[in-house]
């Protein structure tokens, strides 16, 4: 079956993408992903904050010791024309571009207006075919309103879209009060696509040491549900391309995501667990499933169960909540049936 997909203006061989992960650091893995059928690659994010922190740490911990002592002007070598900051990331874009023939979508998490636009331009110059803006922001200030948060986000998208000529997608968190409205604003501001959703790192607590423990768990299939709901809602009302990200582990998951309205489907955790070769299995299943279920085209599948097309739109809306609650019989799941 012809799985060709247009995403952010890029023509892709199929709608399945390896999502933002450390796999792209390894050129061998990148080649294996291409061999396995990946139509494009999404790089993990460049974090402006990390660069800033690293610069500050170098200033405090390395530079501050220089020229302090007669016997040692410095304490570390200064060989190599390396630079701190984004260069390694930018170099990697170039290396991947040289290693494979598929488009590369760079990903950026900025913290300052200058950082967002500056790094976006550098990524474009480095050869990125598209840019994913990874909006990872946790509001902790009670004085900040949801409108402030949304306005800042829209502004970032507008600035970045204006600063680069490559297509821009915005990767969002699910924690917005009125996502359809925000999605519209983002599209109007220049976002050609929306990626649903980024996964907040959820720290754990260590009760013995009285510490917060940074942890990162890979996604599980349950997380797909949230994506399916919002893909279904947004695909019905927003012209932007939608990409599902989080919880897609199998070919069937991918089928569901496209049915809900996803233009593309991103996979990370499954690839990290099972290796780049797993991509081919998922793609194969996806293809087979469509053929076995006698779909004529991918377009026929896409959005076929979204809010405007599904037989029971209430299932995606509040009514479903009531229905599910009423069907609850109070017995433990394991005791059923």
């Amino acid at each position: 079956m012809d799985l060709t997909t247009d995403y952010l203006g890029l023509r892709l061989k199929n709608p399945l993408l390896p999502g933002a992960s450390p796999l792209v650091d390894d050129l061998d893995a990148v080649r294996r992903l291409e061999d396995a059928g990946a139509p494009a690659l999404v790089m993990h994010s460049l974090f402006e904050e990390q660069i800033t922190l690293e610069e500050a740490a170098e200033m405090a911990d390395v530079d501050a010791h220089e020229y302090s002592f007669a016997e040692a002007a410095t304490y570390l070598p200064t060989a190599g024309d390396f630079t701190l900051g984004p260069d390694r990331y930018l170099d990697q874009i170039g290396r991947i571009k040289r290693a494979v023939d598929i488009p590369v979508i760079a990903s950026l998490n900025g913290t300052t207006p200058g950082g967002w636009t500056g790094y976006a331009q550098l990524m474009e110059e480095a050869g990125a075919d598209a840019l994913e803006i990874n909006v990872y922001f946790l509001p902790t200030d009670p004085a900040e309103t949801s409108a402030d948060v949304e306005a800042r986000l829209v502004d970032v998208v507008r600035r970045v879209s204006g600063a680069v000529s490559i297509p821009v997608a915005a990767k969002l968190s699910p924690f917005f009060s009125a996502l359809p409205n925000l999605a519209r604003q983002l599209h109007d501001a220049g976002a050609r696509g929306l990626v649903l959703f980024n996964r907040f790192y959820q720290p754990d607590l260590d009760p013995e040491e009285l510490q917060v423990k940074p942890t990162l768990e890979l996604s599980d299939a349950y997380e797909l549900r949230l994506r399916l709901r919002w893909l279904a809602i947004l695909s019905a009302c927003n012209p932007a391309d939608l990409s599902a990200s989080g919880g897609v582990h199998t070919g069937l998951d991918a089928v569901k995501a496209v049915m809900a309205g996803a233009t593309t489907v991103q996979m990370v955790s499954a690839l990290l667990r099972q290796g780049p070769g797993h991509f081919a299995e998922v793609l194969g299943f996806f293809n087979r499933w469509l053929e076995e279920h006698e779909y004529e085209s991918l377009a026929q599948l896409r959005g076929s169960l979204n809010l405007s097309t599904c037989p029971d739109p209430a299932a995606f809306e509040r009514a479903n909540y009531l229905k599910v609650l009423q069907s609850w019989d109070g017995r433990p799941t394991s005791a059923k049936g």
Binding site: I51, A57, E58, D63, H65, A72, Y75, T83, Q211
Partner: protein, 1192 residues
């Protein structure tokens, strides 16, 4: 190669290294101050692929010592490779045997020496000619440079001359004064080097290479029948050298326009008084002579460039025959000689010249010799004038000194300190800064801007104090329309930058200001209040000298621009804005250009922040309206308190105030012996924040005390009654102890000695359950706490100390004992000093320390103040540093002496047995043991013995009285870093390991040569970048502990106090207890690892948890059935190695510059670590003593 610009701004080391690198194929290197930067430059250029004159990248080889470098170079030359090396001081001495060989075999070769003082009564890293003069007899040609320009030019001449003459050359220049002076010079293009270095000479050298294709034998042994004649066979080659050099000088002049001579005279052609001098001091003499001649005198200076071979003809030809008196100035001292070497040569050469008719018989000048400038002592035109004046006297004094006041031998000449001849069109600026504020770096930038972007000439020289934390830097800058020849510090500045407000209270920073000078002050005080905040002395100086005062709150500007504590760019902008060296707008554009160049590699954020700082500076800079009279009621506080001992008040205080030059000879001990415990008189108040103790939350583990690198956190338990006189804010809590009931407990901070490193807070395990951010120690601003905590600390020190007999080898117990190393100049957060502190707490009252040169000898023994101190009983560590390479042997020698003293005391005791009482004798002989309780008991017996010896006059009694204290066992610890133990001192360490003697060796392993700036040692780990291993160390670190364990008879431990402090304490106790050699290898985090030292303990943990640094204790005497001689105190990896490596810049550098190579090395490192730990486990299992067979 890329064409070089017409003018460059470099220091003498870089100028020299650039030539050496271009003309060498193989370079053997080893770090030693002040020559290390030459080797570092070559290594970096090689790593970057820079090519030499022949289009190949020279091969650089770091060796284990200078002796090793000399040996390697000898081999390189023997096999026909153009080779060079760099060294100084003791390093040069270590090369001497090979230099004899190289000279004897007529190998063309150049060694570049940044001439440095040899250690005698003390080590000194600074410059004089004592090292090169110790080589004058070897048979090397010796060519001396006096300036940065000359350092480059003579380097080229030396390389060309050695190839033409076959005589190896030593090219040398004054350490620091020339090696580290930044100047604007005309660089040498490759065309010049090609013209000087003839290919036929290179080909001839190649043809002599030792090769099996055309074999000869070299290095034979010869007998009395032939050695002498064969030795004389080289004479024609030496005779030709002056001519070769002269020819090259002529060719060089034609190529560059710069004219040099083997002996170069400058002054009145009919001079009557002449100073003969070699090195940078010649420039000061030349300036002086020119001024005196302008005033009608007839003086001149004869500069010696080609010191060996000495050409009598060239010397005589250069000297005006009108001369009536000559002073020969030597920058070295030869006690007991007729005179210093240059003086002796001049006297001999004059006699020979007159005898041979090279000088007229009428030329019969009086010749006197004098010493100047030892250890970079200032040598100024005023001092030269003092010498010229002496030469005019009827009978000039011989064997004088100049530049000091010698009130013991009366040898010193007087000079007029106020005589200043610097021209007005030279801008002279002096900046007082802290190392950490970036002042020196900014000034180097300023010199580059002015030197390379304007027609002005520029010079920079930088003076540092000897502290590693809170180091004061003084930058001396000159800019002017002519080449700057002033090879001395700025004495009269027309711009003074005081970058730290506190300096006004610590030293007389304005003394250097010329009348009408501009003074720039960094102060929190605004233009309206800054005047009132100045101490009276500073105000008086400002008024008297009509100084213009400007102020800026640079730290505020830095904070607001995101620059943290770096005020460098801000102060630099101020300098340009108010000094008028450049038009303001142009200056700012140039600063920004320089910022971009300097910081681009550090990231655009850093560049932007610096730009923001420049832009914000001018608005924050204010001129202060200076009142007509000084009115401050506040005087500068005394440098040391009034209760300090006499020597501290008379001598140390002057050194601390930057006036050590004023001290006369009589102020000093004659043999380098100094009293202990002087850091306590220097309250440096470095910490902006200090820890504050929450007594209620504290669990009394004493870990904070153990980790404090500066002994600024202390713990005591004491009887509650001791609190009756406590200051109001003194904190105490009930002591939690099963055995010491009813006592109080206190953790006390030394507020003025703390450096604010926060290690104590990091290690503190006691968290407030409701608010875990709050611990039993939290940091709080120092200033509001200072006075109260000072009083509390004083009170705390007076509280009673525990009885040594009660000490257990446990963390908590050891930390109640007074540290006998305190408030050292080590870096904030130092990873070494906690080990030394522990050592002194456990054994300090009976401890001899042999300390290898390195960081620990600098923070342990660099004047003005030293940290080792005594306990309440007056006993304390007896500390000494001999050299770098000999430390193990040095400590072994101490042990042997102590053992012999003890043996003789026992012999005397036995001989006098009946007289003294057999019981006492038996107890004294049997009571020789090293544990705390035995020591205390034995000391009491010695007191009893002394009472019995009192009044006895027989020889045995008198001898025994001298040796009685040796009946109490002393503990010898041989201490040093990895550069010593793994590399230069390894041969000696190996020998000591096999000696079986009762010594303990503590290796504080920072995995690089920390003191000289982080050069790779054999302890540097695989994958780490270090100087001399810029592209990442390719091999794993040497496992010294494993090596020592294979000895099979020594106690060996590997420790990391940040990972498992209890194991460290246990290892120290076992090492001390072990009756043979003990070696403890101690992980020491270090600023050279490239991360904040407050994370040092976490990194130690990760080093252990990743199995990179397995903890173990090996005791060959654990041989009982079921025993484990090798106890692994840490387990297999819990975390991947990458988790440890990722936090340190030394690993990340390579990730950035060459990610693929970094990945490959890190994977190799992980494989090595995994395999290595498994090896340890196998070893443990193999060594395990089988349990006794069951009797059932």
């Amino acid at each position: 190669m890329i064409p070089r610009p017409r003018r460059v701004t470099v220091d003498g080391n870089e100028a020299t290294a650039a030539v050496a690198y271009a003309l060498a194929e193989t370079i053997a290197i080893y770090p030693i101050t002040p020559s290390s930067p030459m080797a570092e430059s070559c290594d970096e250029w090689s790593a970057k692929g820079r090519k030499n004159l022949w289009g190949t990248v020279p091969r650089i080889m770091e060796m284990q010592s200078e002796a090793g470098a000399a040996g390697a170079v000898h081999g390189m030359l023997q096999a026909g490779s153009l080779s060079t090396t760099f060294t100084a001081s003791q390093g040069l001495l270590l090369m001497i045997p090979n230099l004899y060989k190289i000279a004897g075999e007529l190998h063309p070769f150049v060694i570049h020496v940044a001439a440095r003082t040899l250690a005698t009564h003390a080590l000194s890293i600074f410059g004089d000619h004592s090292d090169v003069m110790a080589c004058r007899q070897i048979g090397l040609a010796m060519l001396c440079s006096a300036t940065v320009q000359e350092a480059q030019d003579m380097a080229a001449i030396a390389h060309a001359a050695t190839l033409r003459s076959r005589i190896p050359f030593m090219h040398f220049f004054d350490g620091f004064r020339t090696s580290h002076e930044v100047g604007k010079i005309g660089p040498l293009g490759d065309d010049v080097l090609r013209a000087l270095v003839r290919e036929e000479d290179v080909a001839a050298f190649r043809s002599r290479a030792l090769t099996p294709d055309a074999p000869v034998i070299r290095g034979t042994a010869q007998n009395p029948d032939t050695f002498f004649q064969a030795r004389e066979a080289c004479n024609p080659f030496y005779a030709a050298v002056p001519g070769v050099v002269d020819d090259l000088f002529a060719e060089f002049a034609a190529l560059t326009g710069r004219v040099y001579r083997p002996f170069e005279y400058e002054g009145d052609p009919a001079a009557e008084q002449v100073i003969v001098i070699m090195g940078s001091g010649a420039e000061a003499v030349a300036e002086c002579s020119a001024r005196l001649n302008n005033e009608g005198a007839k003086t001149g200076v004869l500069k010696v460039r080609l010191f060996r071979p000495w050409s009598v003809a060239a010397f005589a030809g250069a000297l005006p025959d009108t001369v009536r008196s000559i002073a020969v100035l030597d920058r070295t001292k030869e006690p007991g000689a007729v005179g210093e070497p240059l003086y002796q040569d001049v006297v001999t050469a004059l006699a020979e010249a007159r005898c041979c008719g090279l000088l007229p018989r009428s030329c019969d000048p009086v010749v006197v010799g004098g010493r100047y400038g030892l250890s970079s002592k200032e040598f100024t035109p005023a001092m030269a004038r003092g010498v010229f004046e002496e030469l005019r006297s009827e009978v000039p004094r011989n064997h004088f000194t100049v530049g000091i006041v010698d009130d013991v031998s009366g040898a010193s000449l007087p000079w007029d300190r106020s005589w200043d001849i610097e021209p007005d069109d030279v801008t002279r600026a002096v900046f007082f800064g802290l190392g950490s504020d970036g002042t020196v770096g900014a000034n180097k930038n300023t010199i580059k801007i002015i030197g390379e972007e304007t027609d002005n000439f520029a010079q920079g020289y930088f003076v540092y104090d000897s502290k590693k934390a809170g180091a004061v830097t003084i930058s001396h800058l000159r800019f002017g329309p002519r080449p700057i020849r002033s090879t001395y510090l700025v004495g009269r500045a027309n711009f003074v930058g005081v970058h730290q407000w506190e300096f006004f209270d610590r030293m007389d920073v304005l003394d250097v200001a010329a009348p009408g000078a501009v003074v720039l002050v960094n102060s929190v005080h605004g233009p309206e209040t800054v005047w009132a905040a100045l101490p009276r002395e500073a105000q008086e100086m400002i008024v008297a000298r009509k100084l213009k005062l400007f102020t800026i709150d640079a730290y505020r500007v830095a904070r607001e621009s995101g620059m943290g504590g770096r005020i460098n760019t801000i102060m630099q902008t101020c300098f340009f804005a108010i000094s008028g060296v450049l038009p303001r707008e142009e200056a700012i554009a140039q600063i920004k250009k320089a910022i971009e160049k300097t910081y681009a590699r550090k990231g655009s954020g850093v560049v932007q922040k610096n730009f923001a700082a420049v832009d914000a500076t001018l608005a924050a800079l204010h001129e202060v309206v200076v009142p007509e009279v000084a009115d401050s009621p506040r005087r500068r506080p005394p440098v040391v308190p009034g209760e300090a001992p006499d020597l501290v008040r008379r001598v140390t205080a002057l050194m601390l105030a930057g006036q050590g030059d004023m001290l006369p000879v009589s102020a000093f001990p004659v043999d380098g012996s100094w009293p202990l415990g002087t850091t306590k008189w220097e309250k440096r108040n470095l910490a902006q924040e200090i820890p504050v103790w929450d007594a209620g939350l504290c669990i009394q583990c004493n870990k904070c005390v153990l980790v404090c690198p500066h002994a600024a956190v202390r713990a005591k338990f004491y009887d509650k009654s001791g609190l009756s006189a406590a200051p109001e804010t003194f904190k105490a809590v009930d002591f939690r102890s099963a055995t010491a009931k009813g006592m109080s407990y206190t953790i006390q901070i030394a507020p003025e000695d703390c450096t604010g490193c926060t290690l104590c807070v990091q290690v503190c395990p006691a968290k407030d359950k409701a608010n875990p951010r709050h611990k039993a120690l939290d940091m709080a601003p120092q200033l509001p706490l200072r006075d109260a905590e000072r009083a509390n600390y004083e009170f705390f020190l007076g509280l009673p100390e525990p009885d040594r007999q009660t000490m257990k080898a446990e963390v908590k117990a050891t930390q109640f004992f007074r540290p006998l190393i305190e408030y050292s100049g080590a870096c904030a957060g130092c990873g070494e000093t906690p080990y030394l502190k522990l050592l002194t707490q456990m054994f300090g009252d009976r401890l001899l320390i042999a300390n290898a040169t390195g960081c620990s000898s600098i923070y342990g023994g660099n004047l003005p103040t030293t940290p080792y101190t005594t306990g309440g009983d007056g006993r304390g560590p007896a500390w000494s540093n001999s050299l770098f390479e000999d430390n193990a042997e040095y400590g072994l020698g101490m042990r042997i002496a102590l053992d012999k003293h003890h043996e003789q005391a026992c012999e005397l005791l036995r001989g006098m047995g009946a007289d003294l009482g057999d019981d006492l004798v038996t107890a004294l002989i049997g009571g020789y043991a090293g544990d705390g309780a035995s020591i205390v008991a034995q000391r009491e017996r010695v007191i009893a013995l002394r009472e019995k010896l009192q009044g006895r006059t027989d020889e045995a009694a008198r001898r025994l009285a001298l040796l009685a204290d040796y009946l109490v066992k002393k503990s010898v610890w041989i201490v040093g870093g990895d550069g010593w133990a793994y590399d230069i001192g390894f041969g000696g360490l190996d020998h000591v390991l096999w000696s079986g003697c009762d010594v303990n060796i503590l290796v504080m392993d920072t995995e690089v040569y920390s003191n000289t700036g982080g050069q790779s040692s054999k302890a540097t780990p695989l994958g780490a970048s270090a100087k001399f291993a810029v592209s990442g160390k390719e091999l794993p670190k040497k496992d010294l502990a494993l090596y020592a364990m294979m000895n099979g008879t020594a106690y060996v431990a590997r420790v990391a106090f940040g990972a498992k402090d209890s194991q460290t304490v246990q290892a120290f106790a076992e090492a001390e207890d072990f009756p043979g050699v003990s070696l403890v290898v101690a992980y020491s985090h270090c600023i050279a690892h490239g991360y904040g030292m407050h994370h040092g303990l976490e990194q130690q943990k990760l080093a252990v948890e990743s199995a990179y640094w397995p903890l173990f204790r090996f005791n060959p005497r654990r041989t009982a059935p079921g025993d484990e001689p090798l106890k692994l105190d840490s387990g297999a990896a819990k975390v991947p190695l990458s988790k440890y490596l990722a936090n340190e810049m030394r690993y990340r550098i390579l990730e950035r510059s060459d990610p693929d190579h970094a990945k490959m090395l890190q994977e190799a490192a992980q494989r090595h670590v995994t395999g290595h730990f498994a090896e340890y486990e196998r070893l443990r299992d193999a060594m395990r003593v089988p349990p006794e067979p069951s009797t059932n």
